[in-house]
C-alpha cells in the first residue's frame, strides 16, 4: 500500500549545521564580534603583554626610591612623576600589572580547582555528598565575602599567600554553585546514564561526558570570577590589608596617592595621579566584562 522505496535514511533532510572547523568558526565569530568585544580583547592582550614583560618595559625598579618625592608629571624619566617616597609612578604602574594580574589569576585558578571539582562531585554523586557540600557553601555565602576576607586577613595576616588562599576559598563557593547547577543539568542527560549503564567509571564520566558539555558557561564564569577577584584584591589593597609594601599594586597605589586629590584645583595632573591606578583597574574589569558579555551572548543562543 505504501511506497517507501523512495525513502532512505541517509538522505533524510535535517536542519543540520554546516560543518566547520573550530578555526573557521572562530574566524566567523570574530568577524561578527561587536566593537565592545574587540575593545575588550585588545585591552586584555595589552595588559597581558605588559604583565609578562614588566621587567623589560619598566624604566625603573619596582621599589627603587632613589628619586625625589612627589616629582610632578613630565619630569625627565618620570612620565607620571614620583610618589611620596620617591618611586617612579610609571614603573610601579607596570609592575602593578604583573603583581595584581598575577595574583588575581592564581586566585581564580585555585578557586576553580576547588569549587569546580567539588561542584562536579556534588552533582554526580548527589545524595548526601551534595547535601552536605551545598549546605556548607550556603553558610559560607551567608557572610559577605569582602567582610569574611577582612576577618580572615585580620587573623592570618596579610601576605600574598594568605591573600590568595583566603580569596580563592571564599570565591570557590560561587564556582561550586555555578558548576553544580550547570552540571546537574548535564548529569540527568541520557548519555550520562548510558555511560553509567555501560559500566564506565566516575573519572571517565566526569572527563569525557560532563566536562566538555559544561565548558562554555564555565569559561564565561572564569572571566566574571577573575574580574570579581581582581576587584576584591584591589579593594583589600586599597583598604590597606591586601598586598603589603614595597610590592607595587594598583589598589595600594590608589590609597597612597589619594591625598593628592585634594590639590587637584591647583595642579590638575598631580591630582589625577590616584586615578591612574584606579583607571587601570577599571579598564581591565570593563574589558573582561565586555568580552564575557559577548561570549555569553554567543553561546547562549539567545538572540535577544
Amino acid at each position: 500500500m505504501t511506497d517507501t522505496n523512495t525513502y532512505s535514511a541517509a538522505s533524510e533532510v535535517a536542519s543540520t549545521i554546516t560543518r566547520r572547523t573550530r578555526w573557521e568558526r572562530m574566524k566567523i565569530a570574530l568577524k561578527k564580534a561587536p566593537l565592545t568585544a574587540w575593545f575588550g580583547m585588545i585591552v586584555i592582550a595589552f595588559y597581558l603583554f605588559v604583565a609578562v614583560f614588566a621587567q623589560w618595559l619598566a624604566p625603573h625598579g619596582e621599589a627603587d626610591n632613589s628619586f625625589a618625592a612627589y616629582l610632578p608629571w613630565g619630569e625627565p624619566g618620570h612620565v607620571f612623576g614620583t610618589d611620596q617616597i620617591g618611586r617612579d609612578v610609571f614603573s610601579r604602574l607596570i609592575y602593578g600589572a604583573q603583581n595584581t594580574i598575577g595574583i588575581a589569576l592564581a586566585t581564580t585558578l585555585l578557586s576553580f580547582m576547588i569549587g569546580g571539582t567539588l561542584g562536579l562531585a556534588a552533582s554526580i554523586r548527589g545524595g548526601w555528598t551534595d547535601q552536605i557540600l551545598s549546605r556548607i557553601v550556603d553558610i559560607l555565602m551567608a557572610i559577605p565575602s569582602l567582610i569574611f576576607a577582612l576577618m580572615l586577613l585580620s587573623v592570618f595576616g596579610s601576605t600574598a599567600g594568605s591573600l590568595i588562599i583566603i580569596i580563592a576559598l571564599l570565591d570557590s563557593t560561587r564556582v561550586f554553585r555555578i558548576t553544580r547547577s550547570v552540571a546537574v543539568n548535564v548529569v540527568v542527560m541520557d548519555y550520562v546514564e548510558a555511560a553509567r549503564l555501560r559500566g564506565e567509571g566516575l573519572g571517565w564520566v566526569m572527563r569525557r561526558e560532563i566536562l566538555p558539555n559544561i565548558m562554555p558557561p564555565l569559561v564565561a564564569e572564569f572571566g566574571l570570577r577573575f574580574s570579581f577577584v581582581f576587584l576584591t584584591i584591589a579593594s583589600l589593597s586599597f583598604l590597606g590589608v591586601g598586598l603589603q609594601p614595597p610590592t607595587a599594586d594598583w589598589g595600594s597605589m590608589v590609597r597612597e596617592s589619594a591625598s593628592l586629590m585634594q590639590f587637584v584645583q591647583y595642579d590638575l595632573k598631580s591630582g589625577l595621579t590616584p586615578l591612574l591606578p584606579a583607571g587601570a583597574i577599571a579598564l581591565i574589569t570593563v574589558a573582561v566584562n565586555y568580552v564575557v558579555d559577548w561570549f555569553l551572548h554567543m553561546t547562549s543562543g539567545l538572540k535577544d
Binding site: T6, A9, A10, E12, M189
Partner: protein
C-alpha cells in the same frame, strides 16, 4: 471595529479567512530563513480545517498567521491574510488587538503554561469577553459556567473558582477551550491541544471540543501531527511539508484516496504488521518486583514479566503506569524493594554497581530522545566506537572497520563517521543510538519509547530496521511505549500496565481481541482510528454502556 458580535455573524458558507501566497521567515543562525513558502488557505464560516504535518512543517506558524500573529523572531514577508474584509498583514497592532479575544481566539498546546498562575480560572475565562465589552462580567461568568458544563467539566458551577495548578491537564485544556469560546469568536485556532495528553484523556477532550465547536458553528483551524485525531475534528484537511502545501481535500476523501505519496506515508506505521510467534525460551524475567523512588510511594506492585528469547515484548501504558520504572529496575538504576530480575536463569545483582561487565554488555538500552542520548560533543565514530573498545577491546583500524560495518547495518554510509549529533536528523540520530546498542553485541535491547519523538515516516523506517536486525541476529526487544499502533506493528507479546501493576500479559492476538479487562478495553478503544466516524461511534458505544 464593531463591538457588536451579532453583526459579525455572516451567512454560513461565506469565506471568513483567506490567505494568498503567504510567506513567513524566521530569524536563526544570524539570517532570515523561510518557514512558510507561499501557501494559500481558504476557510469558510462554520468550517473546521485541519492543518497536518510533521515537526518543522510550519503548521503552527501558519495557524498563528491566520490570527495575524507572528511569533517573536518571525516576520511575514509577502502575501495577504484577509479576515472578514480586514487585511491582517497590514492591520495595526490596535486593530489586531480588537480582533484577538473577541472574533478570533487561540487554544495552546500547553494549557499548564498558558494559564496565569495568579488568577482564578473563571476570571481568565471571561477576561477577553469583558475587556472587549462584549458582555458584562456577571453575564459572562454565567455563560462561562454553562460552557464548562457543555464541555463536560466536573463541577461546572465551582471549578472556575480554582487556580490553574488545582485542576488536571485534561480539565485545563477544556477550560482553555471555554476561554476561547467565551467571546463567541468567528474563528478558533487549536494548536496541538491534545498532544500532551494521555490517550484516554485525549478522547474526552476531543469529544467536548468537537461538541462545542459544532454547537456554536464556529470556524476552526485545528493543528496537529496526528492524522487520526484531525480526521475526527476537521471537514477539510490540508497537509503541509517544509512550509509548502502538499495537498488539501475533504476529510473522507483524504483518508480513502490520498493523492500524494507523502500523504500516504503519514499513516505508514499503521500498515506495518508482524506475525506473532510464540516461544517458551525465556531470556529475561521480572519476578515479583515492588519498587519505589527514595522512601516515597510505591510505583511498582508485584510486577511479573517474562520475555522470550528473540521475540519482542511490548509494555504499554499511559504516563504513570510504571512502564519506564520497570526498565530502570531491569537496568539496575533502581534496585527493587522486593523481587528480582532473572537473566538466562541467573538472578542479576539488584544494583548497577554490583553487575559485571558481561552482564551490562548483554542488556542494552535505546532512549526516547536521541538528542539527549548522545553526547553532543562526540562524533559518530566516538559514540559507536566506545562500546567496541570498552567491551571488546577493539582499537585503531579494527575499531574503525567495525564502526563502518555497524553504520552499514543501520543503513547509513561512511560519511556519517565524523558527524556530530547536531549534524544529523532525528531518525539518523536514533539509528546511531541503535548502532551503539548493537556494538555491545547484546542479547536484550530495551527500547524506551524509541519512536515517539519521531515523525511518522521516520518511525516506520526505524521499526523496520529493528525488525530486520531481530531476524538476522536474534535480538530480544523489550519495547516500552504508549503508542498502540507501534505495538500492533512489531510485538509478539504485550504487557498492559496501569498504576504500577500488570493488568494483562500474553500473545499479541490474545490481548488485542476480546474479552478485555476493563482497562485494556478503555485503552485500546481510546486510540484514534483512521475513520472520521470513529469518535462518534465511540461516544455512542460509551453512552450505551454507561
Amino acid at each position: 471595529m464593531s463591538e457588536d458580535s451579532k453583526q459579525n455573524e455572516g451567512k454560513a458558507g461565506d469565506i471568513l479567512l483567506e490567505m494568498r501566497d503567504i510567506r513567513i521567515e524566521g530569524w536563526s543562525d544570524e539570517k532570515w530563513n523561510p518557514i512558510i513558502k507561499g501557501v494559500d488557505l481558504t476557510l469558510r464560516r462554520g468550517e473546521v480545517l485541519g492543518l497536518i504535518g510533521e515537526s518543522g512543517a510550519g503548521k503552527s506558524t501558519l495557524g498563528l498567521a491566520g490570527m495575524g500573529f507572528t511569533q517573536p523572531g518571525c516576520r511575514i514577508t509577502s502575501g495577504s491574510i484577509m479576515f472578514d474584509g480586514i487585511d491582517l498583514v497590514k492591520a495595526t497592532d490596535s486593530e489586531k488587538r480588537a480582533l484577538w479575544g473577541s472574533r478570533v481566539a487561540y487554544v495552546a498546546q500547553s494549557a499548564a503554561a498558558s494559564f496565569n498562575p495568579a488568577h482564578r480560572l473563571i476570571d481568565q475565562t471571561v477576561e477577553a469577553t469583558v475587556a472587549h465589552g462584549l458582555q458584562g462580567e456577571a453575564a459572562a461568568k454565567d455563560d462561562a459556567r454553562e460552557l464548562y458544563s457543555a464541555l463536560t467539566l466536573p463541577f461546572p458551577e465551582t471549578i472556575g473558582e480554582r487556580y490553574p495548578h488545582q485542576v488536571s491537564g485534561g480539565q485545563l485544556q477544556r477550560v482553555m477551550t471555554a476561554m476561547a469560546m467565551s467571546p463567541r469568536p468567528d474563528l478558533i485556532v487549536f494548536d496541538e491541544p491534545t498532544t500532551a495528553l494521555d490517550v484516554t484523556t485525549q478522547v474526552e477532550v476531543l469529544l467536548s471540543m468537537r461538541k462545542i465547536v459544532e454547537e456554536f458553528n464556529t470556524a476552526a483551524i485545528y493543528i496537529t501531527h496526528d492524522l487520526a485525531v484531525v480526521a475526527q475534528m476537521a471537514d477539510t484537511i490540508k497537509v503541509l511539508r517544509y512550509g509548502k502545501e502538499v495537498e488539501e481535500s475533504e476529510t473522507r476523501q483524504m483518508l480513502t484516496a490520498p493523492k500524494e505519496d507523502y500523504t500516504k506515508s503519514l499513516w505508514s506505521v499503521r500498515a506495518l504488521h508482524k506475525e506473532a510467534q510464540p516461544s517458551d525460551d525465556i531470556v529475561l524475567s521480572i519476578d515479583g518486583v515492588d519498587a519505589a523512588y527514595g522512601r516515597g510511594l510505591k510505583v511498582l506492585h508485584d510486577v511479573n514479566i517474562k520475555v522470550p528469547r528473540g521475540r519482542t515484548v511490548s509494555i504499554v501504558g499511559e504516563s504513570g503506569s510504571g512502564k519506564s520504572t520497570t526498565a530502570r529496575v531491569i537496568t539496575g538504576l533502581l534496585p527493587p524493594m522486593t523481587g528480582q530480575v532473572m537473566f538466562n536463569g541467573e538472578a542479576l545483582p539488584a544494583e548497577l554497581s554490583g553487575r559485571s561487565k558481561e552482564q551490562l554488555q548483554k542488556i542494552q538500552m535505546i532512549y526516547q530522545m536521541a538528542d539527549t542520548a548522545m553526547n553532543p560533543r562526540q562524533t559518530v565514530g566516538e559514540i559507536i566506537g566506545r562500546p567496541l573498545e570498552f567491551y571488546h577491546g577493539l582499537k585503531g583500524a579494527a575499531k574503525e572497520q567495525r564502526v563502518l560495518e555497524l553504520l552499514d547495518m543501520i543503513e547509513l554510509d561512511e560519511t556519517f563517521y565524523d558527524r556530530l549529533p547536531s549534524e544529523m536528523s532525528g531518525g539518523q540520530k536514533q539509528r546511531i543510538c541503535i548502532a551503539r546498542a548493537l556494538a555491545a553485541e547484546p542479547e536484550v535491547i530495551i527500547c524506551d519509547e524509541v519512536t515517539s519523538a519521531l515523525d511518522q515516516i521516520v518511525q516506520e523506517g526505524i521499526l523496520k530496521l529493528l525488525m530486520k536486525l531481530q531476524e538476522k541476529h536474534g535480538i530480544t526487544y523489550l519495547f516500552i511505549t504508549h503508542d498502540i499502533a507501534t505495538v500492533e506493528a512489531i510485538s509478539d507479546e504485550i504487557v498492559v500496565m496501569y498504576m504500577g501493576e500488570v493488568v494483562e500479559q500474553g500473545p499479541k492476538d490474545e490481548i488485542m481481541s476480546a474479552p478485555y479487562p476493563d482497562y485494556t478495553k478503555l485503552l485500546l478503544s481510546s486510540v484514534p482510528e483512521m475513520d472520521p466516524d470513529w469518535l462518534t461511534k465511540l461516544a455512542e458505544s460509551r453512552d450505551d454502556t454507561a
